[in-house]
Amino acid sequence: MTQVNTPTYTKKDFESDQAVRWCPGCGDYAILAQTQKTMPTFGRKKEEFVFVSGIGCSSRFPYYMNSYGFHSIHGRAPAFATGVKVANPDLSVWVITGDGDGLSIGGNHFMHALRRNMDINILLFNNRIYGLTKGQYSPTSEVGKVTKASPFGSLDIPLNPPSLALGAQATFVARTIDRWQAHLSQMLERSYHHDGGSLIEIYQNCNIFNDGTFGDYTSADKFDNVIELKHGEPMVFAKGTKGIKLDGFTPTVIDMEKHSVDDLLIHDETNLDLAHIIANWTSHPVLPEPIGVIYSVDKPTYNSEMVAQVDSAVKQKGAGKVQDLLNAGDTWTVK
């Protein structure tokens, strides 16, 4: 969207007057700060942003953004956002959700919003735990998770959000980490510029109920455990000492001292087959955790197709006149 007068905002313009009430040390603070910092760079009027959330710790987010905001009910944020976007496609609509809100109670809406390619940006704060209800296992908790609700360990197999999103026909799937501030900002920007439904899974630390669950990706040796995906570039990690090559469909980690860059898998974010393969590296015992844009393609959005359908109907039939419609059909007159 072109702006005649590009507004100049600072982070402060996106801060509401409400006191932030997450636990001290919560990863949500970093995500909020980075979002408030990144929004001004879009050059878009503040009143055109709408943040919609469900229920949970992360879903308090809209209260802290000085934009239009909607704290809805548990799991349904994508459906509310759909109504907002269809009613006014000129708005930039963001969904804030968590692993419980978005994938458990709201799994249905998550899936359908993505398959419709509704142009909304879904930020999934994944901390692999229920925080607001004080620490039960979530649909992304690892098997055997010991919580108050699972004293003998949870039996559930976790969902893999990027795989789920790809299966649901999402056109933009990315992952980032609360502590990776610059990366997080980049992902927000990519999502904003993607015309269509987008998912950013954000690994977020819950220091009260699940502290350190993503420690491998934020610790000093994090680069040994994470691979940052870059479109068109070979897959190297561990500061260039390791790489990934494909043996048939099977990715393997190789030592770069023994292999050349030519052996490596090249990331192509427009390749759906590759995206599925990469998404499967999630929590893999050997392969590094993929971070970055896993998949991004352009397809017509639901909201733009809806506008086109209305326009085309008006063109074909002429703008409808209500009185004519009332008068239509077989009528008779009583004098």
């Binding site: 509401s16 409400q18 009027k45 503040k46 009143e47 055109e48 709408v50 229920i55 809209p62 209260y63 953004m65 000085n66 934009s67 239009y68 905001g69 909607f70 704290h71 809805s72 009910i73 548990h74 349904r76 459906a79 509310f80 956002a81 759909t82 109504g83 907002v84 976007k85 269809v86 009613a87 006014n88 000129d90 708005l91 249905n108 809406h109 899936m111 359908h112 809806m306 359908q309 209305v310 109907a313 008006v314 074909q316 039939k317 002429g318 703008a319 409808g320 209500v322 009185q323 419609l325 009332l326 008068n327 239509a328 059909g329 077989d330 009528t331 008779w332 007159t333 009583v334 004098k335």
Partner: protein, 613 residues
Amino acid sequence: MGKTFKTIDDAVIRFAGDSGDGMQLTGGRFTETTAVVGNDLSTLPDFPAEIRAPAGSLAGVSAFQIHFSSKDIHTPGDSPDVLVAMNPAALKVHQKEIVPGGTIIINTDAFTKKNMNFAGYESSPIEDGSLDDYFTVIPIEMNKLVTAACEGLEMSRKFVGRTKNFFALGVLYYMYDRPLEATEKWLEKKFAGKDIIIEANKRAMNAGYNYADTTELFTTRFKVEKASLPKGTYRNINGNYATALGLLTASEKSKLKLFYGGYPITPASDILHTLAAWKHFGVQTFQAEDEIAGISSIIGAAFTGNLSVTATSGPGIALKGEAMGLAVMIELPMVIINVQRGGPSTGLPTKTEQADLNQALYGRNGEAPIPLIAASTPGDCFYAAYEASRIALKYMTPVVLLSDGYLANGSEPWKIPNVKDLEPIDVKFAKGSKSKDDFLPYERDNKTLSRPWAIPGTPGLEHRVGGLEKAENTGHVSYDPDNHQRMVELRQEKVNRIQDDIAKTEVYGDNNGDVLIVSWGGTYGSCRSAVETLHEDGKSVSHIHLRWISPLPKDLGEIIIMFKNVLVPEINMGQLIKLLRAEYLVDAKGLNQVTGRPISATRIIENVNQLIG
């Protein structure tokens, strides 16, 4: 052939056959022709929930009843004067309801041994004389006759057989002296490009007409003169279509885009279908992934400044309950329609009931009052939908509109309104202000207590809404005890203030007397018919029909106490009656029936007579 014409005031006919026999279509054509002839009419489609139950089974019987008259009528009639039975199952299901001395037109070709066994007849009811003492039976070999009529057309026997409903229609057109032209035109339009189907059905219909004319089966034809309805231009309309028209008209008058989000469910889906075809009016319909997404999407669209609507039936409302509570909390306008069907659970999807009143009034957590309006006739669905939209927009509140399966699918002549004459709907969005800190999203209008509607895209009015309790005026999250008390009271008071906006209660009959009938929703017609008959008998009976149930009209209490008895007929086990007893401490009596069908006027008359002994 020297047949005599007999002029009658009204007639009730019922077409009944297998689900695949096209009975709804036949009834629909007879209705359109009857409307154009100028009779008053009322219809009752009655079909199974299964799309195709096993052919010839009792469960698969589909029926359509029409009552038409030269007088002003209110119901589809209690018992048919004429039954058209296309197969043994149809006869078996419906024969007990025909008026004594009535006529049964039977397609004898369907009375095979197998079909009769299936329907539970041990011997042929046509041949064993079991019907002859009570009814005039007219057996016709319809399959054979349409086969002859369609001779020379390149059509399989199966397809020729399917035209027999048009043969039956032709017979009825002859009996009641109706023209064939409207139906012929409809066939030409409906099957444009399929000349052979048009021709076959026309031949079948004409064959039926001529057969009735030339045979000695009918000695009398009937004339039902034009009804003397109020001046105006009329069309025939059913409740779901009228509802959709009412919503569209409200969108035009409010100059708001219409957004509909919903999930398919019987008997509400036709509202979605109708609106979906109106894209050239700018209507946006969203078929959601489930009922919850349906209402969530409309709340989102309401936040964004659209006239937002969802329609469902009882099971759908159960799923929407949490979101309806949110709609109360965030005080945004929207219309939530429940086209009621038989419950509980999946219940009777294609049958009518009024048992979701309590659900509409109380089916949410917390104190969550929602204004509630109920449509009274198929045509009234237009005005009820319009009024629901008007109040929702004026008071910034969700409004529940109750319709039901009978209203949704039933039809009646409808005087076409002039859009210009309808009450205006003025919507003002909050305007952006320069100093950004002074906007109060929960500041209230002194009169209506409505809050401002500040839609995204408006500079300076950025604000947040949500399901957590709101602080008065600022709308910030608040857990303050006194504030909660105040907000709960304000939300109720806002609903109460609607009393100032709704029409005074009309008493049909005297303002005091022996019996007052209080009704709501689709029982209007039966109650009004009953009272008209009781008045002819000189009984002291009056009738009031409630349009708004939340809030109840201000004057209701003072009207009720003027009567010795209060009778509340409902298609439930007594839901409005409990409200009336609680509100007005009146010893009202219920008339409760839950058979999936309208209460008959006859039953109401019996009840009144018992009351006043």
